[in-house]
Symmetry: C2
Subunit: 589 residues, 2 copies
């Protein structure tokens, strides 16, 4: 037996008891006559004491222990002179009688503590040491609890977890698939699922009624900072449901998670349609922790001689409250440069400062009188002390740019608090989105999403503007400006599914080849159904008020999709390649 | 709203209530004046009634509904004249007032009932219909409950579920890996994990203390009848534990699952060492639901002129109780032919029939007197009415053959009852096993398994017999002759791990290249640790007293690794291949 208790277990009530502990040497202090060692495991830290007078040999042994050594200590629990109220075991210490080194440790390449001195690359290479840091470990434990509560809630609501296959079929639609060559079927490949979408729909056809799965999904994308080639979804589907019933169910799940894990009671989630989100926040995932909503100024600003506004499709502004005194000209110049960065792409930034002394300073004073600007201010509910920021240009782009500026100002003004949670449903998404590059429509959610009933009859009009105006029974759950989940009511009728594939540019043969099994299933009594998928990694991060999903993944990959700890991917030998009927064909770079 | 209740919900207390139900037309009976429809969903079946006199139009509509149509019915709950006590809703029926077809159905290619007329191939192609059959659906729901209870038990015992990566590194050791070409790292490949073995060990190095995961694993093997290329494990690891503590923990899990899911209280599991299992049952996974254990007869049978026994390394028999009268010469001849089949491979079968009249009939009467045979019978605890079956030859092979015969007799004699559960731990496995083909030793469990402490000093003796005699801290959980789980105490010392790799024929460079990250981790304070993995698919089957794991997998693959429903694997296009820096290289078959 390696231990009678873990390092977080002992209290005053154990005083006088002989105990055996095992763990890692966290820190040690040698005070001459006495040596203290903090022994650490997942459950806590317990102080070990070695006394020179009582047992010099043992004390010498203890002095030689390095950080991160793994030791077993047998001793007697006693009360501490200087208690540590910040530690659960802070009332007691162990008077050690015998000590055994279970394993030595080289000096770690970085310090095992919250504010480590290790850089990202080093910590990823030695991820097994990085994971010893309490803050990283607690993220992973948090994730475990979130998974457990998710399964509990969904199971209590009659959902069945069903494992769907990982080795499936590649379909060119959507993002790039990872593929897996089949040795037994030469020249053929499996694909790893981007989501279990078609399988969960088939489970509805099978009558499972309510399905969920916490499941790994895969996308071979060029990785941005916060994307991973493998990621985890809470994937759900329900039969005989309306959109309202789905939203109610998963609002219930989200509230349960906040309550059970964070102790937070969330009020009912507001709903906002896509058009409102875009026109008020310039985003389909608005951060509603703060207002600063868009006000359109087209009617007020035209025909005053300011060419930029006159030619703009949209002139739109936000009001930043009470910052006129704090923001110098230099600050405002810096902000202008910020919106002009290529990532944002605005040509310039118009602002009007409503000084607390009643004066107005604006970048467009040449064209607009103070009275003009007072009119804007009134429309924007602005008062003295505020600054109005205005962007103009092509409507869609301008809204996105102003949305970015809004978030930036929200951050700078401390309006995006990590412990403030503002969920909302964004609903009534467009069915289709036009892609300029490939000159075709893509499904905004995915090709299985049902158009709204009222829009079905308009689906084959074919003219561009009608197509853009089609709305879907699709919805996203957004918290604090982050899309946590998204879903839709699905098509369950073969003819409508075929029509939708046609809109998306599939020939009937392509549709049959790729999704014939699903359309076939629709002919044997498919029930009305719909569902949702949550990004589990992101949900973990958002509930913690953090941004990076990587901190909630035990063994993440870097931006080149590499696991630098195990050094993957790597070469495979020629025999293996030949068994797979493959040859390498590496072009010169 | 599609329904106010599901099809299993309504009882006498609902009489008079107007309800809305949705589901599938299971059966319909047209009695002229009245039409009955059984409406089905996952939760049950409710009888709908349509009356010609009350509403002829509605009744006509109902008559036209085909099997598996999806309908919504609104009506009033009323008491049935002929109650059906076998159905939870059997006291009531719905007097339907309005009916809506939600989706039509073509005639299914096989009947949706327990004894379907559909063959395996057809059912797999239309798996979404096969999954509508109550017995198949209940298997999948059973699996869900087993997963839920597993997670509950392990979480309650301080285990943390941690997701390990699916895209890892290929290692030539063990079975063949599935590989995934990396687009971003041309010429390089990920591998899909055969198990999260190294990652769970790293989590122990990280101090997670207790880890589990219900996780998909992958093996590119030539598929036998009951293997799947992707399968699910309950994967577990613990730190600072002895073998006894691991066995106690997972015996606890197994008992919990039997109790919570089957209502069965299992007594403590016996333990048997590997040598005893092999010598008494000819198998490292003995079915202990029945005795019929091996008795070695070498000392009694030699030097009586029977050449076959004289030259045999081992002469060993089993006693089949009370079948002498029932088994004719013809039966015994058939049994002899059974052991001679190539799958078993025995040269012949010696038997001695102890007739109930006191006479003896044996195939070797020419060499052995009745008195000789009475001596065997005494050693084998046989009585009149029993038959002794004896095999001989090379010891290891003969034991395996007799083990097969024992199981076959057990089945024929009805001794292997589906509702009788006899778990046991098989312990003290050999560390290494010799492979005749490649003329080298392989790890019997895997290369990370710790030899028993007493055997470590003998590890480098190098002579063949010593190597074969090394024992490992490895154990299997066996239930009813099926290996449910297996595990070991792991090596946590770099030098010992290196030594073990050397025994297994790795050069130091190969060991470093493939497992350097793990050996490196052992240098930074790796705790003593060990674990176990359960085959989740198999556990589902065994708890149900069934043999085939395929019945517990929602979307299984066939023996060629194909999913015939979605038709995977399949071709990918040349652009995709080129992006992956690959070319097909298909040899003529």
């Amino acid at each position: 037996m390696y231990r009678s208790h873990d390092c977080g277990a002992l209290r005053m009530e154990h005083i006088g008891r002989e105990v055996t502990l095992s763990g890692w040497v966290d820190t040690s202090r040698d005070l001459g006559g006495t040596t203290f060692i903090d022994l650490r495991d997942r459950y806590g830290i317990t102080q070990l004491v070695f006394d020179m007078e009582a047992n010099a040999e043992l004390c010498e042994q203890a002095r030689k222990l390095g950080r991160e050594y793994v030791v077993q200590a047998i001793g007697v629990v006693r009360e501490r002179y200087n208690k540590n109220p910040n530690r659960a075991t802070g009332d007691i210490e162990i008077d050690v009688r015998s000590l055994q080194v279970l394993n030595a440790s080289k000096t770690p390449p970085f310090t095992i503590e919250e504010d480590t001195d290790g850089g990202e690359d080093l910590r990823m290479k030695y991820r097994y040491l990085d994971l010893r840091r309490e803050n990283v470990q607690s993220n992973i434990i948090f994730r475990h609890r979130l998974g457990l509560e998710t399964r509990k809630y969904l199971s209590d609501h009659a959902f069945i977890e069903v494992e769907t296959p990982v080795l499936i079929k590649s379909t060119p639609e959507g993002a790039r698939d990872f593929v897996v060559p089949s040795r037994m079927n030469p020249g053929q490949f499996y694909a790893l699922p981007q989501s279990p979408q078609t399988f969960k729909q088939l489970l509805m056809v099978s009558g499972f009624d309510r399905y969920f799965q916490i499941v790994k999904c895969f996308r071979d994308e060029d990785l941005r900072a916060d994307r991973q080639p493998e990621f985890t979804q809470i994937d759900c589907e329900m039969s005989f449901v309306t959109q309202d019933e789905i939203l109610a169910t998963f609002e219930g799940l989200t509230k349960h998670l906040f309550k059970s894990i964070k102790g937070i009671d969330l009020p009912d989630f507001p709903r906002m349609n896509y058009d409102e989100a875009m026109s008020k926040y310039g985003s389909d995932k608005p951060d509603t922790r703060f207002d600063m909503t868009f006000v359109e100024l087209n009617d007020l600003v035209k025909d005053k001689g300011f060419n930029v506004f006159d030619q703009a499709e949209l002139v739109v502004g936000i009001c930043a409250k009470g910052i006129a005194d704090a923001y110098s000209n230099k600050d405002l110049k810096a902000l202008t440069e910020w919106v002009q960065r290529p990532q944002i792409g605005a040509k310039g930034l118009v602002y009007a400062k409503l000084n607390t002394d009643g004066s107005i300073k604006s970048t467009v004073g040449k064209f607009y009188t103070d009275e003009d600007i007072r009119q804007w201010a009134e429309l924007m509910n602005a008062e003295d002390g505020d600054i109005l920021f205005i962007l103009s240009g092509e409507a869609e782009k301008t809204r996105k740019q102003l949305g970015e500026l809004r978030l930036e100002l929200g951050s700078r003004l401390g309006l995006r608090k990590a412990d403030d949670f503002k969920p909302l449903w964004v609903v009534d998404f467009p069915l289709l989105e036009w892609d300029e590059d490939t000159e075709r429509f893509y499904a905004m959610h995915h090709p299985f999403t049902s158009p709204k009933k009222a829009d079905i009859s308009r689906m084959l009009d074919g003219d561009h503007e009608t197509m853009k105006s089609l709305r879907a029974d699709a919805y996203d759950l957004v918290i604090n400006g982050v899309e946590i989940g998204g879903g839709s009511i699905r098509i369950h009728d073969r003819a409508l599914q075929a029509k939708n594939f046609k809109l998306l540019g599939f020939t009937p043969e392509e549709a049959e080849e790729q999704f014939g099994f699903l359309m076939g299933a629709f002919e044997y009594g498919a029930p009305p159904h719909g569902g949702i998928a949550f990004g589990f990694d992101r949900l973990c991060a958002v509930l913690n008020g953090q941004n990076s999903i990587r901190d909630f993944i035990a063994f993440p990959k870097n931006n080149m999709g590499r696991d630098v700890m195990i050094d993957a991917p790597g070469r495979i030998d020629d025999v293996q390649l030949s068994e797979l009927s493959l040859r390498l064909d590496i072009k010169d770079q």
